[in-house]
Subunit: 391 residues, 4 copies
Amino acid sequence: MPNMGRKLRVGMVGGGGPANFFGGPHRRGILIDNSAELTAGALRSNPDDAIASARDLFFTRGYGDWRSMIAEEAKRDDGIDYVTIVTPNDAHFGPAVAAAEAGMGVLCEKPLVMNLDEARTLHQAVKTAGVPFVVAYTYTAFPMVMMARHMVADGKVGEVRKVEAWYPQGWLAGSRESTADAAGQKQASWRVDPSKSGASGCGGDIGTHAYEFVRFVAGLTATRVRARLKTFVPGRALDDDFTVLADLDNGGVATIAASQVTIGAQNDNGFRVVGTEGTLEWSITDHNNLKYYRAGEPVHVYRLGGMYNYFPSTITPFIRVPEGHPEGFHEAMANLHRCLEWQIRAKLGEQVPDHMHLPGIADGVAGMAFLDAAVRSGRQDGEWVDVEPVG
Amino acid sequence: MPNMGRKLRVGMVGGGGPANFFGGPHRRGILIDNSAELTAGALRSNPDDAIASARDLFFTRGYGDWRSMIAEEAKRDDGIDYVTIVTPNDAHFGPAVAAAEAGMGVLCEKPLVMNLDEARTLHQAVKTAGVPFVVAYTYTAFPMVMMARHMVADGKVGEVRKVEAWYPQGWLAGSRESTADAAGQKQASWRVDPSKSGASGCGGDIGTHAYEFVRFVAGLTATRVRARLKTFVPGRALDDDFTVLADLDNGGVATIAASQVTIGAQNDNGFRVVGTEGTLEWSITDHNNLKYYRAGEPVHVYRLGGMYNYFPSTITPFIRVPEGHPEGFHEAMANLHRCLEWQIRAKLGEQVPDHMHLPGIADGVAGMAFLDAAVRSGRQDGEWVDVEPVG
Amino acid sequence: MPNMGRKLRVGMVGGGGPANFFGGPHRRGILIDNSAELTAGALRSNPDDAIASARDLFFTRGYGDWRSMIAEEAKRDDGIDYVTIVTPNDAHFGPAVAAAEAGMGVLCEKPLVMNLDEARTLHQAVKTAGVPFVVAYTYTAFPMVMMARHMVADGKVGEVRKVEAWYPQGWLAGSRESTADAAGQKQASWRVDPSKSGASGCGGDIGTHAYEFVRFVAGLTATRVRARLKTFVPGRALDDDFTVLADLDNGGVATIAASQVTIGAQNDNGFRVVGTEGTLEWSITDHNNLKYYRAGEPVHVYRLGGMYNYFPSTITPFIRVPEGHPEGFHEAMANLHRCLEWQIRAKLGEQVPDHMHLPGIADGVAGMAFLDAAVRSGRQDGEWVDVEPVG
Amino acid sequence: MPNMGRKLRVGMVGGGGPANFFGGPHRRGILIDNSAELTAGALRSNPDDAIASARDLFFTRGYGDWRSMIAEEAKRDDGIDYVTIVTPNDAHFGPAVAAAEAGMGVLCEKPLVMNLDEARTLHQAVKTAGVPFVVAYTYTAFPMVMMARHMVADGKVGEVRKVEAWYPQGWLAGSRESTADAAGQKQASWRVDPSKSGASGCGGDIGTHAYEFVRFVAGLTATRVRARLKTFVPGRALDDDFTVLADLDNGGVATIAASQVTIGAQNDNGFRVVGTEGTLEWSITDHNNLKYYRAGEPVHVYRLGGMYNYFPSTITPFIRVPEGHPEGFHEAMANLHRCLEWQIRAKLGEQVPDHMHLPGIADGVAGMAFLDAAVRSGRQDGEWVDVEPVG
């Protein structure tokens, strides 16, 4: 890594409450590489709690809410370089637009916002501001997933015929044991509340991750979908099981399946990209390996490790150790931040490594367009619904 | 196993040609347990070849065609006890009906016949004759699949919410390497010919296997389906990729996916049964293990082995070695024959072990009803089509 | 497979008792390919039982003991072509010598005999008689193990530096549950009795299998050994845990580890051959895959399947199905018999496929020499003991 | 985690050079949890480079050498709380003793020092000073390894009969591809130099890791050893392959095997603990799972995840995410630092969670005693050598 002039300064919105899950991983991702610091935080909805939380978590400056944080930081010479948004879905849009308009970079959790209208508005704001933007499709930031994208783009599977993407979980299956402790229940609560989560529960929370494999790895986009949205747990307002058949813009097809009621599944997302010349397969349950199949040949298993020459120079900057020391979720988090950081540093005139770009604002909008179509199809018992194009 | 009075006498239809694949496995399944013998064969379509083939393969009696075989054997005191049908799909119906009418047991390859009308006619013939009938849904005959059926029936997953069943293959992907040698090409040729294979290629050949997991393991039946049938290889007349979303008769859902163009997949069929209390998962790629998940508990991996007390007495007769000596495909074939054999022996008044029944004629008909609905849905771009009930 | 003039005629010694484990697998191995028949049996030690057992198991002719069987069959025009010996270790030598002297082929269970003296006498008898002889090192008969041998011989790992071979089991761990049922206890009883098993329990029963990987796969022989023989279960007369460090005749080394007290292990044998240019790795727990490692490359996983062109023509005759239909233990058993059968048919003037030879008499003797040295080393607290050369 | 009064202040010795591997992981481990900061660094042997490196890596204060760093920091009110030593083996002793004598905590890389004499001197210094001390046996800091220790201590395997521990690598196999790039070669160079690495190469670098599984997981210590130390790569001064048979202080045995020439192995360390009642098995290649075997039961696979109630309260503080988001090497690094940090905070009067203690100074000394005996045995062609007791 090159010598850096200074650490980037990061602001965080949300992520400070005791039951919050993703604040911790984002902070670890920001800190692990020692190239950025926790500068400003508006970490909880109650202003007093927010300020206390920022202090307890060693943020340099605490704020009572994101509006004041963005406004104040924008005025400072040593103000934040980018904002990380780690709130429930209903609280992404406001700070994302404000940060972009203030000229700050944004790293936003997914799904991007609450609906396609918000997404388009935000898209326009980001384009206008010209700021770097990364969406936390965290699984795209695993190096072997990047490698799959590279290999597809390099023609290794030929023309893509079919993409299968999956993301089963079991923690919302509704049995006493699967809902776990109080913290887990709070995590669960906003995810099953339409006013906080949007029109889809399972689809929004994890179906969008699965769909992004179609976009990021295969480089393709759904044109129309048939969706089956099921709510298995009695009394739940949103879908907890989500299956979509999609047509793709190259003439191929996709199957996208997510579930929150598959007892025993942890976060077992993965994909298979089937082409005319070969197949690529990855699962987070074996995340440091990527399987490449060609007819009549042994299976080729690509393994993670900075020392392997088969990685292109656009991916090696995202690998931290030579080989065999397993990297995982927090490193992927760090890669999201690294990618945004390097876009910002490049704008600041610093030299940064050539590197693969992780999903940006257009990908976030595409995820909302997919979700929007899937929800409409689901409400029509699976009728075909066209996916609206991303402007 | 009990002392048996005599070996059963088996007749075989088809399975004698040099390019035939399934004749060999069936013969191995018949012979491996030393309880039956190859008595009569009508093994090829050309009568001279048929008789020569029977001689070369050490059948006691060779016939030029199945009609004469069934007629002649029916007259003998030492005539065959059952007929195994190993022909392409278009040549199942005739010998199956004739054998049943002659009072012989039948073990028939899948899919049962060419269409639902034939299936119903055959069903009636078998019911009228009262003969034992087994359909070669071979994967149900793996002991760990039987164990899954037992555990679902025993309430181990609670109420079933969703069944996922899959069967990807890659050998018909159309690349030069995947079609392999001449024998393979002949195997391939009838499977992609509607006049021999029926209205569906991939769905009929392997989608029916996947659907049978829904029936056999989960004990459920599809009531309506949306189907996506794709033909990826240019010039092919039938589907080579087959995906179905189904509603089930208990209010649950299923996803059934099969493919012949997934390069690298061998015959990687498997299933996941998701219930309110737990999940069961099996894949042929790890076929001697069955995974059982419950919320908050370690994964419980049941392993094959006659010494394990967790198997019920209805399954242990299908396990041949104590543990750790892998059993696989040929033993599953043998289990199909063993199941039919014991039904026949029971009718002959012999004492046979209490054992699980493998799929019979009604299951074969149900497979055709599913396929019939899927093909109609596929032709309507995935509209809902009701699955006709099995009488 | 070529058209065969007649089925070979097989005699079996032992393997008929209700508690016998290996009789069944050998019969299945003989019968599965429909190229040999169960002609003569001397299946139990009590003559009346032996004759009854032969009748019940559908042998053409039953004998009260192996002496009369070999004598009578030798006189017949339609006498047996070879003898399969499935008795406890103390009863291998007699019938093996007698069969060889009568000009019959022999397929003998392992370890070859009770001690090195017997082994040498038998070796001489077989050489003098010039009869085909196969030792039931069954795991060498898994096609992927043959493939490993082929690849080592083909230079794929360079010069071999180290071989690790292992075979842990858990069934003799001494806890109530691990000893299982009465049949299992009988199986266990002779294996822990020096008068029936020889000077080593664990080493003789399964350590010899592990050592044969050194011989068969790597093509190397131990020149001296340090051995640790442990008896963990109180009151047991023989070792139940067996670890050997060996020097090899090419200057490399080996570690050979077997155990009968590793609770949870089934028959988890396997090996790793480490060379200057690459490594090959196989385990029966994933027996249809062979892993090949080269520095800096993806792992190459060779999979079983008759359609894969990477298999040499000497191995394809031992593969029964195209791909993806798992073959296992019984097919390996059948391959042992197939190999012997083809050697016999070749002597009879029939044309047989070019094929890899599985372990023969010299390999059986080498196993005894290894065991002899290991036992002596074990008794000297692990002092170096030279392995006697096989004449 | 409790609210912490302030971040701990960390000093680092070594780890700043461009070719250094372990400096980065330690810094990530220190930073990831946001509870400590990089306060002082003496990161390279050349003083100017050291100071430049500290500045570039954002240490608060840079020093030209560790002597001045420890001396100066000891005088400050805001001086460092502990020292992390990330130098080659020959440069552990000096700063470790000095830091202890200055009353600072120490986190030291392994093997502890150059020889047993140094180890004992350091041990005494640490005891006298009464400072917290952690040895970087990083693999013990994987939560599933801690869980194994907990389960053994809880009696889950009964009395331990045998421990197998392994650590194969391939990067020093000597082929052109396996030595990789310049950085790798520098990493390699000190590891094969006796003046920097000590009397054993492979044994010291990774054999000690494997041995620590015996100590940490099984809670046992070797009393005598037979060792085979091999040097396969021509011209190398130290062993690159290391195998030890050990007797343990409870009457059981161990096999400890490490290798640097196993092409294809990454850092595939793991262990199997075999007891009278069960077996525990773990491998870094599947590091988020722990397998527990009991006779006659399904395999129980314990999976990582903060939400699983089966973890005792002493381990949950080392798990960062609920489930299914893979944690790996950097989190294990962080756990080493976390453990030391909590010992220091407890001494400072802060309340810290009840937690499992990771290996300390006595374990470091025990590793040196083991290595000392193994080297002496290796030089005597594997004669038994007693392991000296740790005072």
